[in-house]
Symmetry: C2
């Protein structure tokens, strides 16, 4: 394929677009790959579409390689299945809702679990039909509150989503592993640097959910990693090593102190240290009790929950949610306090909670024998030397405290450091949630129905274009891995000489005959303009037919390394073929 710059629908820009902050956004716009059409809506111009299609092809190849079968659903979907799964409501403002001319409710699919489940239910009925894995590469819609960074987070995007259907947990584990392996092959072929992070805590089943994050300073997703062991996880998946229980024989009896105007940990610590109790206190000595309410799936009523964490740490609401999932969690309202006057705001302690039958969970660091300053359940009063296992017994532990840089890695290999990444893939053992909602069963060998278990797997196909661009560029432009580059070679005619033009045309034809994809810069522009555009566009090999032609050589330049070499005209085709096939 020969693409001529003289007719290619392309205008490169010398300046960064005003609304662009991250490198991929700046460069993809400047190099004419994408254009903004609306908030979070982009059009793909010819070069961008080529990269997108190349990624799509790689994703498709790796999905087919393990027997996944491609289908395609509409994007405009009826409300009913999403009502059944409760996601019509759960998605909230993120869902684009549409009414048709008759007033019937539709939505633009943000993801398609419901449809896949219903479709498998419609077609399959026997255990012999399973396992099956179906996928689609399709446009998804999410009304993001803050679309950002060009095509990194848009409201309309291309996604590969797939779903596995198995009759048992072992089958699901196998389907999950197949996807995991395929994702590794996909992201390796794209030349990405990425980590696979556990997305939920070990308590929920270890590898039941993992995210693939492309390492990038501009990524929205934070994760923590241990440089010593390579361990990486979302903070939601971090488990806190519990210290050993301590003897508490020497700890004085708990004592209540008048601590006026100390509603915060900082004011409390200052007050205690000023009170001359014979020792120094820090925030880590205090036990902060945060009240929330929870509601189990299917339950009508909300129940109170007290969460006790060391006072030097905040409760990380996302970690709390992940720990309680699928139970819902919400902050208390003023009316909750009014209905439960035993909760004295700012001075809540384990005592009143336990006495009033409120479930009380604590951070794993709160082990037997640890001694705490905490609320005395009375305004302006705190209790000192309240010992876990002696003075109070919590209902259990919970991963809810924030994770900090410097915390020990759960694998004990070292300390955690913070990092950022772009979510490019997600694999998830969904289990029977949707099969339960839609009654997806298979008749087992004994004639009895077996509930199907599902996995859900996604790759952000259009986002990958940006993720690769984030990792692979320099200050002159994009640098594409050959596997997804819009062409193999940018052939620059660096002069007005007829001989140069003729030689370049001949070279382009010969390369094309060898299956090499060529962009031929045949424009009437200066060599400087052409070189700058070639660097900006980022095709992996730049071939220059210029002054050297008189000496029978052309220049071959590697876009990534910047290495240049003069190659004899009569051997350059075989040299390029060698490069492109290596």
């Amino acid at each position: 394929m020969i693409t001529r710059m003289s007719s290619l629908f392309l205008r490169t820009l010398r300046e960064d677009p005003a609304d662009a902050e991250v490198p991929s956004h700046k460069l993809l716009v400047r190099a004419g790959y994408v254009r903004r059409v609306a908030p979070g809506g982009y059009s793909w111009l010819p070069l961008g579409l080529r990269v997108l299609r190349n990624i799509e092809r790689i994703v498709r190849e790796e999905m087919e390689s393990f027997g996944a079968q491609e289908i395609q659903f509409p994007a405009l979907l009826p409300r009913e299945p999403y009502e059944t799964s409760n996601r019509w409501t759960e998605y909230g403002d993120t869902l684009f809702r549409v009414k048709d001319r008759k007033g019937a409710d539709f939505l633009l699919g943000p993801t398609h679990e419901e449809l896949f489940t219903l479709t498998v239910k419609g077609e399959y009925g026997s255990y012999k039909d399973f396992p099956v894995t179906l996928y689609q590469i399709q446009t998804k819609y999410r009304d993001e509150e803050r679309p950002r960074a060009g095509i990194l987070r848009t409201r309309e995007f291309l996604m590969k989503d797939s779903y596995s259907f198995d009759v048992d947990d072992e089958g699901l584990a196998n389907s999950y592993q197949q996807h995991r392996d395929a994702y590794i092959r996909i992201f390796d072929r794209l030349g990405l640097r990425y980590v696979i992070v556990s997305a939920v805590s070990g308590a929920m089943g270890g590898s039941a959910s993992e995210e693939f994050l492309a390492e990038s300073e501009t990524g929205e997703d934070t994760f923590v990693r241990c440089l010593e062991s390579g361990f990486a996880a979302n903070v939601e998946a971090i488990t806190t090593p519990a210290p050993a229980a301590r003897p508490f024989d020497d700890v004085p009896a708990a004592s209540v102190h008048h601590t006026p105007n100390t509603p915060t940990i900082a004011t409390l610590v200052d007050h205690l240290n000023a009170a001359d109790l014979g020792r120094a206190f820090t925030a880590a000595d205090t036990l902060k009790n945060v009240m929330v309410k929870t509601r189990a799936p299917g339950a009508e009523e909300w129940e109170l929950l007290g969460v006790g964490v060391p006072g030097d740490r905040e409760v990380d609401f996302k970690r709390l949610e992940a720990s309680l999932y699928p139970t819902e969690v919400a902050l208390l309202e003023e009316s909750d306090f009014q209905r439960n006057p035993f909760m004295v705001k700012g001075y809540i302690g384990p005592g009143a909670l336990i006495a009033n039958g409120v479930r009380y969970l604590v951070d794993p660091r709160v082990v037997t024998g640890t001694s705490w300053v905490t609320g005395a359940d009375k305004a302006d009063h705190h209790v000192v030397d309240l010992v876990c296992g002696r003075d109070f017994t919590p209902d259990g532990t919970i991963e809810a405290a924030e994770v900090r840089v410097g915390d020990p890695s759960p694998d004990g290999a070292g300390e955690l450091v913070a990092a950022r990444g772009i979510e490019i893939g997600h694999i998830f053992q969904l289990g029977r949630k949707f099969a339960d909602a839609f009654g997806l069963d298979a008749l087992g060998p004994d004639g009895k129905p077996v509930r199907i278990t599902m996995g859900s797997y996604g790759v952000g196909v259009s986002r990958l274009v940006a993720a690769v661009a984030e990792q692979s560029h320099d200050d002159r432009g994009l640098i594409w891995p050959r596997a997804i580059a819009p062409a193999d070679v940018q052939l620059v005619i660096a002069g007005k000489d007829d001989a140069m033009r003729a030689a370049a045309e001949r070279l382009a034809a010969e390369l094309d005959a060898e299956g090499v994809r060529v962009i031929l810069d045949d424009r009437k522009a200066s060599p400087g303009v052409k070189f700058a555009d070639a660097e900006l566009i980022g095709v992996p090999t730049i071939l220059v037919v210029g002054r050297g032609l008189a000496q029978g050589v052309v220049e071959v330049k590697d876009r990534r390394s910047g290495e240049r070499a003069d190659v004899a005209l009569d051997s350059v085709v075989s040299r390029i073929v060698e490069i492109t096939r290596s």
Copy 2:
């Protein structure tokens, strides 16, 4: 590629779906190609998606062959550009409108003229940049009042839309011709029987708009054709041959008659024939004056228009609209009659219209010297022997009367017959409508702006799957042309014999190595079930490994002709390769 029926996500149905009326709908559902998800919304199962992708590939190849460049817009589009073009309103209920979380208006693109125009304006500015043709293969949304016939008319469908941009009319004519040629190649490659019909009358520029209609009894589009000459056109494009003017010296003077209770043509004719006027009247002797109102583009006010047609023909509103386009036309309301009391309902004649300055256009058959019975502008009165050119002079002619089977072909070669078709393509010289709306200019060689002229071209990609199925099936199932078939060969293992299975597996591998796409029916089902499924699925060649294997032969069957031949096992691969490449 080997696809195993044992794992293919497919369930065929023996019964027609209850909601299906046309063959393509019945068979595509029965053979497991598509499934209904919502009104006018279908999912593509693996075999269906293959056919769709094959068609997409052919369309893409033929578009690229003449230099069209592929881009891709979002489907979710902002309101503003469609407000500028006035189509936000014009589309009416056909447009799916969406509000985002901030209340901003969006729409699901029914077609993309606005975005293409704006994009070209954003990138290009010099006459040297033109011509350029851009296209996309994209999901479109139209809230059809009556989705029907499976995937023939859906609310979400795949379309190739392209737009040409030229600096002058000659360039547009050339771009139009390139599309026309490419469409012919596309539809020929799909093996379709189709006609190219003029979509608008010659008065608007002859070939400025043509539709490609796949011949089909189940098609929604009617057209007329002349079997003698091959002429074919939409009725909107039919011009009525005008008879020669006649002498009218012998026609008696016009006379007004009392014709009580004759508001319709039929009652009028009966009354006249009963009145003993010395001759017999038919509906064709009467002149029916139909009142509408029109509004020119940009105009505020509606103006009255009288349309006179022979009383034996109805006014065809679509023909009237096409004749007046881009002027809008609407029926009168009661208030219009009240404001213009000179219009006496049921008795309107040319007299009052002309006297009151109302524009009055007549059917081309109403030539000088023709004599008519028509309204006398007075309740219960008609005038007889009103002669065109003597007693009234219309403002011109208009193509508004219905076209009938048996009417003369505009080319004079014979009579028109009626036919039905499925619109599969449309090419249209759009001109400067959108360039005017968005100010799309190029700087000419003299530095002065030149307004760009556009063409708009569409192929219904997903509809083509149904169009081919309509034309190519029998009572046993689908019959795909090889170019778009989901596989080349359906290889049926017709027995439980291990030797049969082994031979079939070997054959499948050998065919695959030759690039032949094989569906291997390796299921534990009866030969009868397998044969029935093979016929239903409609792969062009059916290969049966059965009892003949003992004699060293397998059966090769052509799905379309039904011809069977026993072929020696050791030569069957080369025979199949020969068939697939022919």
